[in-house]
């Protein structure tokens, strides 16, 4: 009888829920689910004078909800700053919730130099001229008198043919990344003359080496001067100090989406070698092209690592992500983690073949061999996509150090 009692106790203990609490009640930002909470909390802000500001889907008309499409912060020195997380159109709602009517200063960061800003107040739309200290920044002043939400919307001109750049793994070498950024600025000018402007840079993780604020600030000093938006996601080096969401506080969401002309760009936060299960549950929504003709998904850990040894910690999730990429017929996966340039074409997932480019060439050390730094250029023309690699060698090299890959040649110097 006593044995039966012990057995019953053991079974009841094993089946009991135990001590459970809401997700991230004890915050550990090494856990991707805690970063999901952080990045969504940071996409809305109640300002000191009672104005609620929220990032939203550019097509959204309802100001009662928000999405992790940017970073909002307010400080005595800068006022309210909204950093848009990705390229393409964007939207912010502003609504006075409390306090007296008055002026609200808002700085928009990470905006395309050629974007037009429209303020929509009730039924009235007003295109505003706004400038900032750098091309990607705009400063606005509003007077919010009542509780009717006011929308700030951004639009960019969309040519038929345009470019996106992608790289990852900057880590200990922001100096080399600054050279790459300079090459990107040069390309922006030259490409615009060719009628195919460079509209965005995707950085697929490892922006820092040790998840430190000063590293992120040094990187901001470089990318804030670029005339086009930079879309980022964290790598393992950006999230391994778990006491604060350092990455999110500096760059905003790690998992987010943007529609750039006819391309859907999605970033997945794989910094922990896995994605949050709530993100896993939203994969069909994130990969939904809507009207976009091209789908490009960026992440730090390669969903298909080949024999690099640098894959996901949770291969079960990676397989699910690959199946969702196959269902969505994703055109390209861009990843980092391996400090090298690899092109995996023809990854079989069911009846679909995926393509993944690993471009951990943003400056991080590549060991004893000749380094191959630079970025992948993705040229989109209608529903077609073309890729090549722009090598930006460090000083002292006479030219590119790497040869063409079978499906990823070096870009012509004339372009």
């Amino acid at each position: 009888m006593r044995r039966l009692g012990w057995l019953a106790l053991s079974v009841s203990l094993s089946g009991s829920p135990g001590c459970v609490r809401p997700e991230c009640a004890d915050a550990d930002y090494g856990d991707p689910e805690c970063r999901v909470i952080a990045e969504n909390e940071l996409a809305r802000l109640r300002t000191a004078d009672g104005v609620e500001i929220r990032f939203a889907d550019p097509r959204e008309e309802d100001a009662t909800t928000w999405e992790a499409r940017g970073l909002l912060r307010e400080s005595a020195s800068e006022g309210v700053v909204a950093r848009i997380a990705g390229p393409g159109d964007f939207a912010l709602s502003l609504q006075r919730q409390a306090g007296d009517p008055g002026a609200t200063f808002l700085r928009l960061d990470n905006v395309d130099q050629d974007a037009t800003i429209t303020v929509v107040d009730g039924g009235e739309s007003l295109e505003v001229e706004a400038e900032g200290f750098v091309p990607s920044s705009r400063q606005l002043v509003f007077t919010l008198d009542d509780e009717v939400p006011l929308w700030v919307r951004g639009r960019i001109p969309c040519p038929g043919r345009y470019r996106i750049a992608a790289l990852g793994d900057i880590q200990t070498n922001p100096t080399q990344f600054a050279r790459i950024a300079e090459a990107l600025s040069t390309e922006r000018l030259r490409a615009a003359q060719l009628g195919e402007p460079l509209l965005a840079l995707m950085i697929v993780g490892d922006l820092s080496e040790a998840t430190r604020d000063e590293e992120f600030e040094a990187l901001h000093d470089i990318i804030d001067r670029l005339p086009f938006p930079v879309m980022t996601t964290p790598g393992n080096h950006d999230v391994y100090r778990p006491t604060r969401p350092y990455y999110n506080l500096s760059f905003g969401p790690g998992t987010h989406e943007a529609t750039l002309c006819n391309a859907k760009l999605v970033m997945l936060d794989t910094g922990s070698g896995a994605i949050a299960t709530s993100v896993q549950a939203r994969l069909p929504e994130l990969f939904d092209r809507d009207e976009a003709e091209v789908l490009i998904v960026g992440m730090h850990h390669p969903v298909y690592p080949g024999q690099t040894g640098a894959g996901w910690s949770r291969e079960d999730q990676a397989a699910h992500v690959m199946s969702e990429l196959a269902i969505a017929r994703a055109d390209l996966v861009v990843a980092g983690h391996a400090h090298a340039l690899h092109d995996f074409s023809g990854i079989d997932v069911g009846d679909v073949q995926l393509r993944e480019i690993i471009t951990g060439t943003g400056g991080a050390t590549q060991g004893i061999a000749d380094p191959r730094f630079g970025y992948v250029r993705i040229t989109i023309d209608g529903g077609e996509m073309d890729t090549c690699f722009v090598e930006v060698p460090p000083p002292g090299y006479d030219g590119p150090t790497g040869d063409d890959l079978p499906n990823l040649p070096n870009c012509p110097a004339s372009d």
Binding site: V36, A68, A274, A281, P305, T308, A310, G350
Partner: protein
């Protein structure tokens, strides 16, 4: 001489057949005994190596074990090899700055080297505590059938982590020469689905069906199966009999273990989307390995081989799976294990009577270089390179004189958190001529 050659031919013949190659003629060795794993029998005659209590060199043979085994230098050698292999591999990874395209073997070496080193150190400690004695006659081996229960405990409100149940089997056919082939595999899964919630603040809403406000975001079920063969052939030991004092470090066997692993995951994502089914198959047709008996009661085993992956999925709204045609060459697969046998009922009872049961245990440490089951060992920024580490304890209880025994064990797996598994199994004699003899 003729008899020895015949024995060796018989011993290698199963391997040759299994590998699909012709039997080879093995040159006769001088007085090589027909070795299996270390004997639990004392030497037949007096041996000067065991009779001189005053001469106890560090590299001495284990007492009462013939042929000689020298556990201390063997463990130092394993420790050195582990440190060297792991260190060189880690150094290569750093020197090449993660840029080596086939960098996975290096990460395998890091994990295997760490396990080898840790195993050797624990083995040294066990040896100091008296574990370097003759092999146990009834040591722990895989149960012919066992039931595993992996315990899971949710930590978040309204979430559910499923327990895992698996039926495992490992019947063994043992040949007369001590070689054996084992049919290994399992069938199991999650009896209840894993439930996860969406913690985003903007989707929180009170609901009568939940304790908290986070809506359910993901429900997952899993079916798991595997089947394979594990073939082990003993190598001659000592390989060369020298007339002078023995300097051998322990016998070894070589292994071939083709395996097929299968997982089927069914997902319900959010409230609106169509359920998803994803099948993952891992083919390991060329996994080979070796076991090194460092002492009669301690073993180091490793396997390594290429891995081929297939992912199939169901398109939304369709029942059939899109399986495709190709297989992907995946990351390299590897395992490393260090086992220590521990007798729990040595000798007779205090009153001189025979014990009613023989009880032996095994401490096992392992590293598996695969994150197929979503378990990876991460630390600091080292994320996504290593597989999980294992630590387990298994106890075998055999009623005195019985052909049947039961085994029960507990093990922990360290990778993406911690999980514990309990298992209980039944042991029957091995099949085949070698099994009947044993």
């Amino acid at each position: 001489m003729r008899g020895t050659t015949t024995t060796l031919r018989r011993r290698l013949l199963p391997t040759a057949i299994a590998c699909g190659i012709a039997a080879v003629t093995v040159p006769a060795r001088a007085a090589a005994p027909a070795t299996t794993e270390p004997s639990s029998d004392p030497p037949a005659g007096p041996d000067a190596r065991f009779r001189d209590p005053g001469r106890r060199p560090w590299a001495r043979c284990t007492d009462e074990v013939d042929p000689c085994m020298r556990p201390r230098p063997a463990r130092v050698l394993l420790l050195s090899l582990g440190a060297l292999g792991g260190g060189v591999a880690a150094g290569l990874l750093f020197a090449l700055g993660d840029r080596l395209a086939p960098g996975d073997p290096a990460t395998l070496l890091v994990g295997t080297g760490a396990l080898a080193g840790a195993g050797a150190l624990v083995g040294m400690a066990a040896g100091r505590l008296g574990a370097d004695q003759a092999a146990l006659s009834d040591r722990v081996r895989p149960s012919v059938a066992s039931l595993d229960w992996t315990v899971a405990q949710p930590t978040n409100l309204d979430e559910r982590e499923p327990h895992t149940l698996a039926l495992r089997w490992a019947p063994t056919w043992r040949f007369a020469d001590g070689s054996r082939v084992r049919l290994v595999g399992h069938f199991g899964g999650w009896p209840r689905p894993r439930e996860q919630v969406d913690p985003r603040p903007q989707v929180q809403a009170a609901d009568d069906g939940r304790d908290g406000t986070a809506p359910r975001s993901l429900s997952q079920r899993q079916l798991s199966a595997s089947v394979g063969l594990d073939w082990a052939v003993n190598l001659p030991y000592p390989a060369v009999r020298r007339p002078d004092r023995s300097s051998f470090l322990g016998p070894a066997d070589i292994r071939w273990r083709p395996t097929f692993e299968f997982r089927r995951d069914s997902y319900e994502l959010g409230d609106a989307s169509t359920p998803r089914t994803v099948e993952r198959t891992m083919l390991l047709p060329l996994t080979a390995g070796a076991r090194w008996y460092l002492s009669p009661r301690q073993r180091f085993t490793f396997y390594v081989g290429p891995r081929f992956d297939m992912i199939a999925y169901a398109e939304p709204g369709q029942d059939g799976l899109s399986r495709g045609r190709g297989v992907q060459l995946g990351p390299i697969y590897g395992e490393a294990w260090y086992d220590i046998d521990i007798p729990l009922t040595p000798g007779r009872r205090r009153d001189g009577q025979l014990r009613r049961a023989d009880v032996n245990a095994m401490l096992t440490m392992g590293y598996v270089h695969s994150r197929f089951d979503g378990r990876g060992f991460n630390f600091g920024p080292v994320v996504g390179f290593l597989g999980p580490f294992h630590l387990g304890w298994i106890t075998r209880v055999r009623p005195h004189g019985s052909k049947l025994a039961i085994q029960a064990g507990a093990s922990a797996r360290l990778g993406n958190g911690f999980s514990g598994t309990l298992d209980v199994g039944l042991v029957v004699p091995d099949f085949g001529p070698g099994g009947r003899r044993r």
